[in-house]
Amino acid sequence: MFKTIVVREILEYLKSARFALGLFITVVLVAASTLINVEDYALRHQDYLDAKKELQAESRRVNILRGPQVLSALVRGKDRDLGEMAPRIGVHRVPSELSGYMNVPKSKYPSLARLSAVDFAFVVRVIMSLMVIFLAYGAVAEEKAAGTLKLVLANSLPRDKLLLGKLASGLAVVLGALAVAALLAVLFMVLHPAVSLLADDILRIAGMMAVSALYLSMFYALGLFVSVKVDRPAVALMVLLQAWIFLVVLYPNLSVTLAERLVPLPSEQSVVAEKAAVEGRFRQAIEDASERLVDFADPKKAAENRLRYNQVSSQKAEEIHKLDSEFSRRQTRQMKSADLLSSLSPAALYDHVMNRLARTDIREYEAFMDGVVRLWRSYVERDNLRVTNYEAYKRSKLPDFSYASESTSQSIVAVLPQGLALILFSLVFFMLAYTGFLKKDLR
């Protein structure tokens, strides 16, 4: 009997115009956006390789380049907006942010370029969740309005079996549509010559698909709950659309605004003023030290001055870096507060997990910048050696730049709470639908 219910429900969904339309929009958007984003990645990656080659030729300068993340083709996140190159490293300044060095790649598909703000995560978060709502709102309400619910329940069919059948078939259809979209996106990636996916990337993509499935399941469970509680299908749809607008659009933005109020950041002017004060404090000492950096008559004195200059400059740089770090720390706190506040929104949870798994979130950038600071410290140490022990300096080598990018297992562990929250939301909504349906009066 359960199979009979599931088969009928699946066929009903597949024959419905709303499913056909939803799937069509999903497929078109996923295809177009992935095509553009993969191409964008390929161009940025090529730019990165070219820039690396070009800068390697300038052996005296130390430049650090940040390559694009391959999974930004699926989840753009902040990958494109945070710059690609740490400005030339010197003792007098700790690089605190990246600059846009490389050219902004031009789309190969100008007519589709407007879709560049859309990615796979956006399609799932907005388009597919809406499609799920349009599928789920009538699951019970439409059957009640049409009278078929009474006809079905006039048989020896337990209500829980009917609801579970509806859930199973709804999820099968929704997850089937997700699988089609995911396959299409991955196909575009693997077929592109510039993209090479490692096992690690495949694992991350699998994680992203799993969380997408959880996210859409949550909306189906919510739809089922509203469909059970509200008898009129049009009213059920209205309620669900309002809930969707709140959960996907309003609440995540509201939590960011709230976090800005709760954890305010110092103004740009005050940071600039503080930095200027530090500059002012060190100005005289740096000027004094830099006066006689080259003195052929007294090389010992010149070396002392050089060392002194390095010390004072790096001290100043460290202090300015402290200010930047403090600003960045507050920014992180603000972001974490926004994350915490928005954890009631499945859309915010979904975004968080997708960005983390795709390595296109701010944490990846921060880890990169930590690596830059470590390299700067090595650079300063080595530069001091140039003055104190030139032979040792010549023998020494600046370590290669590296940073601790989050491993896949670390990312998965990190996103577990959000994944569990999505499961919890789904369970709560389904349990509410379940108890509501068992007690429902069919007048």
């Binding site: 009903e12 049409a146 009278g147 009474k150 079905v152 329940l153 020896s156 069919l157």
Partner: protein, 247 residues
Amino acid sequence: MTDLQPILKADDLSKRYEDGILALDHLNLQVQPGEVYCLLGANGAGKTTTINLFLNFIPPTTGTCFINGIDVTKDPLEAKKYVAFVSENVMLYGNFTARQNLDFFAKLGGKTALAKNDYYQVMRRVSLQEKAFDQRVKNFSKGMRQKLGISIAIIKDAPAVLLDEPTAGLDPKAATEFLEIMAELKNEGKAILMSTHDIFRAKEIGDRVGIMKEGRLVMERTRQELQYEDLVKIYIDYMKSEPLSIS
């Protein structure tokens, strides 16, 4: 007929909704095999509530419904094996054909081994046009949908049939055809409980007719008794009479 074990039995059945409305007030009725019982009454008299209670769509406030001797509240799934249901406005699944609808409901009714021809036979029996058998139901007229609804009830082959205003909105020809099928089912020994507004057809087909008013069964007559009485006059008199004092 009265010596037989009733297939449908309402025993002191009452229903008060959460909003305080008393929809059914201590109803007692029985329907024997091969008997058609027509429940007459205005809107809100409690006819549909009675049927809803028999199908366990709503729980009774007091009293018990029995189908084939099984307490509906205690064992609804077992009780529903013995009853088929035809509603007022059989919408069915519009995206499916008549046969697919029939197949789905037959399987729900426990008939899992039926062939295409079995479905066609039942649809022929209710005089559904052949060309409609494999057409989507969404384009069906109300009469065609009602015939398909009866097919669903027939294919379940349950000893009891509940009908909620089955002829409402049907043209006279379709209504007459519908009643002919009811007569056939009655002759097969089915116990039929039908709620209706249609006094003439109730008199025509009913072995017993009950008039409901404000949740109470205020009158019951057998076919024999109605040979000497004017059902229309009785009905109108009851409808015009003072409202009942319901606590």
